[in-house]
């Protein structure tokens, strides 16, 4: 466990040295900051817009950080051949992979907290302090980002960076469309298509589960039961992806 933690901390420190992440965070803060200038709208609309822009920015830039961070975490070690040094030490591939995963969770968390604090500050400044629903939304966004990052990390064990970027973004979009796909499948009369659709619906990560932000902004209450189920979904899916990643990483010739 100590080895895993050392790798996690190193991954985190290494990421802190990357300028890309800082640039993304700064961009995110700028975008959230600009939402303050919608003061020509009525107070209610302005607040909706601030929340919409902020949640979307946290998620979008968070996804970029998650994908690009995870992309370099493992493939960087392989490209720079530092992985040989690491694996000759008493560090197993499993240690390395899980360490990288935890390191990514830390990076996402720090960036996430930074951007979220700015957003919360903005809400307080607008005399509309965040409620429980806001925190529920943020919590789910964080777990979505962890899942996105884990998928990129796992794909990095068997595919090139170019493929990984395209795949991760494609999956991000598809993952937000699964609910629509489900509706289409429900209308199909063919049993085979229905079965295939249901299988795809289960296999593809349903990012739409985490996207409660649109509803929260409109004042639709979200139950703790839903949040807990979605968190369990996120954790379970992340675990599955880790297992798949481990399988391919063990098999990979480095």
């Amino acid at each position: 466990m100590r080895k895993v933690w050392v790798i996690a901390v190193n991954t985190f420190k290494e990421s802190l040295r990357k300028k890309t992440l800082y640039i993304l965070v700064v961009f995110a803060l700028i975008v959230i900051g600009t939402s303050k200038f919608f003061s020509f709208l009525t107070a209610e609309e302005e607040l909706k817009m601030i929340k919409d822009v902020s949640f979307s920015t946290i998620e979008f830039f968070g996804a970029l950080i998650a994908i690009f961070g995870a992309l370099g975490a493992l493939s960087g070690e392989i490209e720079k051949r530092t992985i040989y040094t690491l694996l000759t030490k008493p560090v197993t591939r499993r240690n390395l992979f899980i360490g990288k995963f935890l390191g990514m969770c830390l990076i996402i968390l720090v960036n996430f907290i930074l951007i979220s604090l700015f957003f919360i500050g903005l809400l307080v400044f607008k005399k509309s302090p965040p409620d429980v629903e806001t925190f529920k939304t943020l919590l789910l966004i964080y777990f979505e980002l962890v899942l996105i990052s884990t998928i990129t990390l796992s794909v990095a064990t068997f595919a090139s960076d170019a493929f990984n970027i395209i795949f991760s973004f494609f999956l991000y979009i598809i993952g937000h469309l699964t609910s629509y796909g489900r509706q289409l499948v429900d209308r199909t009369e063919s049993v085979i298509l229905k079965g295939l659709g249901q299988m795809l619906y289960t296999i593809v990560p349903n990012y739409e589960n985490f996207a409660i932000r649109d509803k929260v902004v409109l004042g639709v209450p979200v139950s703790w039961s839903y949040v807990l189920k979605t968190l369990t979904y996120g954790i379970l899916y992340t675990f599955i992806v880790i297992l798949i990643g481990l399988y391919f990483f063990q098999k990979r010739e480095v």
Binding site: E45, F60, D214, V220, V222, K229, Y233, Y247
Partner: protein, 317 residues
Amino acid sequence: MRKNKINSKNWVFLFTAILLYIPLGFLQVSIDYNKKLENLESGLLLMPGQVAGSLVLSGFKGLAADLLWLNIENYWHEGQHYKMLPLLESIAWLQPQYVTVWSVGGWHMSYNIFAQVKINKENLIEEYKEKVKNLPEKDKKDLHNIIKIGEKLNFLIENLGLKEGMEEDRITKLLTELGNYQYFLDNYKVNEENKFFIDALKEFIGIVDEMLYWYNQGIEFLKKGVAYNPEKYDLYFELGWTYYHKGKDYKNAVRYLEKAIKFPHPDYVDDVLAHAYEKNGQIDLAMKQWEKLLNTGFKSIAERAIQELETKGKFTP
């Protein structure tokens, strides 16, 4: 030997991962159930514009709706009212629980576009009135029926939604009346000199017809909004108010305002309902409604209303 051991362990990872998809599937079913229960589902939709489309595809429906809303603001300030309509529809589809868009949309159709129809033809109306005024007496006699229809249509254009009500049965009657006028004008023989009057009246029929159309469109838009937000007072109130204020359709106004007060609501909803009861001839209910308002910020108005209803039997002008 060691490599074989690793390989067999490796298969366990993959096998466990595949196996875990089973509880994941059940969990998804449970989440879907919650979504349905808590109204967290997204509707299937088609979006205009590439930017909005791509935002929706990536799960940023709220942001797409906001961008469209900013366009609405621009069109609003530029006076391009008709351009707002597809945007309002799109936002409503994107975020059906965004009550503001339904209420603004309904109001926009029933009030602004309704008025715009008349404004667009103001020059024609003025020209018609001027020409009728300057007609020689002989022509006035010849065109007696045409002038009468013109007066009726002008009266409707001026007063519809103000002094003239648009109750459901009244709209049906008006539409029949407009059809009759149209038929009459189509078959009216007139010399080339006076053809302008026939053409103008046909335009006037179009104006009244379009005004009724937009009033109904606004009502329908609000009703659609109610279907998506049946647990909130807002859109019931908007519907009730549109019926009351614009349509003078007090029966329907009472119907929807009564629904509005079943949900948490501000006092002014009770106030409008009290007026609607009175206008609908339900004085007893109006009295009871005013009594409810005695302990609110509407106290002084309520006291006056009760007194006047008791003495004169009428309070609302």
